[in-house]
Every structure is written in C-alpha cells, then in structure tokens.
Amino acid sequence: MKTSHDVLIVGSGASGGMVAHTLTRMGIKCLMLDAGPPVDFERHRVMRPIYDLPYRGFGKPGRFPHVTQANEFNANVWADERENPYTYDPHDPYYWVRVRLAGGKTLVWGRASWRLSDYEFKGKDHDGFGDNWPVSYKDLAPYYDRVEPMFRVSGRKEGFPQLPDGVFLEDNSRDSTSVERFLAAAKRMEVPTTKQRRATGTLASSINLLLPDALATGNLTVVPNAVVREITADKKTGLANGASFVDRRSKREYSVAARVVVVGASTLESTRLLLNSGLANSSGTLGHYLFDQTYTKNIVTALVPEARGGRASRNLMGGGGYIVRFRNLKAREKKFLRGYAFDFGSGGTPSPKYFPLYGEALQKEMAATSGSAFGMTCMGEVLPRYENFVSISKDVKDAWGIPALHIRQKYSDNEREMVKDALSVAEELCHGAGFEILAKHSQMVPPGESIHELGTCRMGSDPKTSVLNGFNQTHDIRNLFVVDGGAFVSGGAQNPTLTILSLAMRASEYMAEEMRKKNI
C-alpha cells in the first residue's frame, strides 16, 4: 500500500477546490481525485466558424437529450449521457446537467454570486415550513467576506436584509435609458432592484483561482481521470479510511488510504457515492429532500419601442440588473411561500419565433427590431420535500460498472403559483416602463435544468433527520465530510455557488482544527 494521505478530496470543482485551497495552506497534505481529464485551454479550444461544424451549430441529434445548455461549440464540455446514464419516471423528467472535467462546473458557470440570508438559513422560523439550517447568516458571513475577494465579485451595496451585501468590486456603472425606465417602474411598484453580482475575470474557476495556490504549497496531489467507485470504511471502527477508484481510460482499479475523506463531487454525485458506499445514512434521509430552483427562461420578452428602426443606440439600450426577492418578507402571500428573483437585460434582437410572420415580412420586422429587445428570466425557491429524492438504480450502471442514480423530483403548487405571480409582476413592470410585450409565459423548465440541484445530504442539528452537522461533517462518521450543494437545507432564489464555496472554506477550517486536536 502506498502512503496513506492526510485528506482525500473527491472532486476538483468549487467545493473540492476550496477545501484543497484552505487545507493545503494550513500545511495539510491532500490527495484530490477527479473523475474527469485535465483541461488545457490552449490545446482544447480553437476559434471555428459555425459553418465548419458538422451540424452547422445544431449539434449532433440526440447527443444531449437533457442538456439544453449544450451547443455544437461546447458539446465536448458536458458529461456524456451514454457513459453516465441515470433514470427517472418518464412522466416526471429530470434534466441532470454535468461536467466531468477537472474544475467541474466552475469551468462554465454563470458567475452569479449572491449571499443567502436568514430568510433562507432560518426559513422555518419565518414561515413554519421545512427545517432551519444548523447555521445562521452570521456564522457564514466571515467566510462570504473572504470568498468574494478571491472570486473578485462585483456588485453594489444596497442594504437589503434578504440579500446581504458583500465585499465587492463596486459596480456603480451607469444604466442605459431603457434600464433606467425599468428601474423607475420597479421603484413605483416598490420592487427592489440592484446590479448583478458576479465573479469577474476571464475565468473564475477552481482551476485558476483555487488549485494553483494549493499546488504551490507542495501539499496537493491531483489525480484526474479517477472515477471513485466507493468510499471505504474500517469494519472495526466504522471510520472512513479511503476510497477505491477506477481509471477513466484504462478501467484499471485502484485503492487509496486517507485519514479524512471529503466528498465534493457535486450534489448528486456525492450522494450517489455515499449511497453506493452504504455510508452515513442512519437517519434514512440520505438521498431525500432533493430540490433546486425554478427557472423560467424569458418569462417576458419585450421590445423598447424607441429602439425600433435602427435607433437602438448604446445610450438607450444595453446593460441590465437583478430584481431581489420581495415576496413573503413582511406580508404573507396567500398562494405560495418563499419568493423569487429576476435577471433582466436590455439589448439584443428577439428570436424570429416570436413574430407571426415569415419570409420578407419577417426579415423586415427582424431588421426593424434589431437591438431593441428587453428580456426577463425568473428563478424561484423550491420547497425541499422528503418525497423528492434520489436512489440507486437497480438495473443501470455507468461505463465503469458503477450503479447509476434514479432521480425523482416534481414541482408542487407552491412553485407553480409563485411563477404565475412572477409573470404578473414582470408584465406590470414592462408595461410601467413603456415596453411592448412580445411574448410571455409561466412555464418552468424541468427539474434539474437550472443546474442548481441541492439537498439529498442535508445538514441539520438532529442526526435522526439529517446527514451532516453544521460543519458538513457526517453525523455517523466523524472523519467523513460532504462539502457541496448536497448539504443545503433550503436554497432561496439565489445562485448557490458562493454559499457552497463559503461553507467549504468553513468546513475545512473546522476539519483542520479537529485534525490538530486528533479528534479525527
């Protein structure tokens, strides 16, 4: 047996990367396994005209039935669905979107970086539904403070209790006239708005912001193409003692030993790994309370009339912002709990599908409306429910013989009523701004498509109803941690990555201290 490692980290994305970054800088030696290959941006990406792609940008038919984000340019980024199958009830489709490259989804994420508030951490105290997190905003605030500068998050301070301010690269950029009109309409309706909060830079990924510093300490070994089959445990002590994995390319089997095991393989992969390992589930809740965020793309598409006919100037069009959750803060809505948020943007040309025209008439209208679009997209909180869960498929295995997941998630009336309300607000805002609504709808994408899957390995104070404690440590096995979105108890409408990063940093510092005290 080769050397046993201090800490084994499964996954090199946001959570695994942050654990490596934190622990190695504290002198702890880490071995990181990632299922995917390393990415070389120089070798693996080329500029190419769309007409030179075999399918002219349409993509090979049927290659990614569940990845609407895939296009022919980026098709080789997404995890192959045939090698990595999963199952669901055909009446309740689930779109599981994965990246199996070193760096994970941090290679392609949208960068939206929002803090959660105690409306999320203590949601049960607020409205009686579900469970509170075992941590509060004040526990995590110091970690948000440290993560935001690492990821160069830009934003504007507003003082909203439901969306705490951060340590920002201050964004006081001027708004275009169309955005100013929209913001004025929002103000009249008492709907709060702010600038986008985003990690900036050409790349905001684990592979440029976390792993290089970790590697520079000399305390990190990264092994890509390592598909972890199971976490192993000592039969006598019950403690985790390493993992077995298979080389993605050769399918040769390996085992590795470690004092502490940290799983950050992304929400559903981490839970799948624990289920396949038969570990950490005395509560019976492992796999349960799967949720994500409702995602209603282009809930409203409008036109700015003054921008028609080639008058879409930079002064009039461009830019955008964010509408912060405003429902169910003080007043209680009758038809739904919790709330939603919008991204909005000015500029671009609407899709030809929205116009009831064709041929020369359509071409004239497209030319006339070029650059005059205004769009809104809505994301909302999904209530975590025990009956939305993942389990191990009886029949289906992946290309390495590892049993696949069966995924069950359905949206409820709470989500549907929330989105209907969101549509009504979006329409009123656009009318108030003097825009012409071209298209509107209240259809959420299928569960999973938001790529914000959360839960299934949730935190809690009670080991009977949760898998992890407030430091991402499994209740059952004190040297086993799960640090990704699986730990979430609730998710709000805010994109989760900033919170995942912050929790992972906090868990790592706790872990290091426990190791120092020899508790693990």
């Binding site: 005209p49 002219r56 020369e360």
Partner: protein
C-alpha cells in the same frame, strides 16, 4: 559592389550551387506546415438521403419562401438549407423525422388540392393559405396540430440554418468588419 561583397556573393552562390538536391528537400522534412483545408460544403453538393424527390422539392420551395434572398444576404436556397436539413433529419430521432416528412407531404397534398400542382410549383401568394398557421401568435406550448408544429419548427430551423451557412457568413464579412458566426469550439478532451 565592392571586392569584399563580390567575394561574399560569389562564395554564397558557390555554396548554394554546391548543396545536393537531397539537402534542399531535407528542409521540408523538418517542417510541419498547416495545410489550408476546405470543407466539403464549399465544393460539393450533399446527397439527398432522407426525403423522396418531390418531398425534397417541397422543402426547398418552403425554405425559399420562409427565408428569401435579400439585397444584402443570401437566402435559404443559396445557403443549401434544404440539403442540410435533409442530412440533419437523416440522423435525427423518429419523432422529428415524422414531423418533417408528414409536414412536406401535407404541403404537397394541400398544394395539389388547392392548385393542382406540387408545392414546389407554387408562388408565394398561392402558398400563403397553406402557410397560414405561421401567422398565429406565438405560444410556449406551440401549436397542437402536427402540420402547424412542422411549419413553426421549419421556420425557426430554416432561419437558423441559413444564418449559420458559409454563404451567409461570407456576405456578412463583405458588409461589415465583424467575423460573423465564429465561436470558441471545444475539441474532444481525451
């Protein structure tokens, strides 16, 4: 030219003449130039595999009506859209194939019913009553009847396939300074 230069030149010329032919070829052996390549679309017509001849002719006429050439840009005909869609459909799943095949067959059936000739022979005005579903307002769910769904699908895809064609890109490059349609392509990562 002074005497030094003359000697230098004479020496160089002598040296060059003294190199055997092998050594001149040796330089090429050490090089690995990137060969300028042309894709098949630019020099050849794709074979029609999915549609029967009359069906294909209907799709060509439809694509020309949906996306005609304009003063500044090629239309779907010049962009070879029907041939491209034929190829795309030959690789698509059965639902999509049924949608398109039944769609073009309906085009021909309606054209014969109304005008006594196949769809490929219709003028824009003659085709208008058949294409009326395209004047319905957009809904998220889309039309419920198959023919209308075929028309709305074809409208979007003809538009997209035209704008992602070589001909469209070349016309755009002639008009503007931007390199339209060029994107960052991820190669397969082993």
């Amino acid at each position: 030219m002074n005497r030094r230069d003359l000697f230098k030149t004479a020496a160089g010329a002598s040296a060059a003449c003294a190199l055997p032919a092998d050594a001149q070829d040796a330089k090429k052996i050490d090089e690995a130039p990137l060969i300028a390549a042309t894709s098949p679309d630019a020099i050849a017509d794709g074979k029609v595999r999915f549609f029967a001849p009359e069906e294909f002719a209907a799709l060509e006429r439809l694509s020309d009506i949906l996306m005609p050439a304009s003063a500044n840009a090629p239309g779907a005909l010049a962009a070879g859209v029907a041939g491209f869609l034929d190829f795309l459909l030959s690789e698509s799943g059965p639902d999509r194939q049924r949608l398109y095949r039944s769609g073009v067959q309906t085009l021909n059936a309606e054209a014969r019913r109304l005008h006594g000739k196949p769809f490929s022979g219709l003028s824009i005005a003659e085709a208008a009553p058949i294409l009326k579903p395209l004047n319905e307002p957009w809904t998220y769910a889309g039309p419920s009847d198959r023919f209308s769904r075929f028309l709305t699908t074809a409208k979007e895809e003809v538009w997209q396939a035209t704008q992602s064609s070589r001909e469209w890109s070349q016309a755009a490059a002639a008009r503007t300074r931007s390199a339209g349609g060029v994107g960052l392509y991820w190669l397969p990562i082993e």
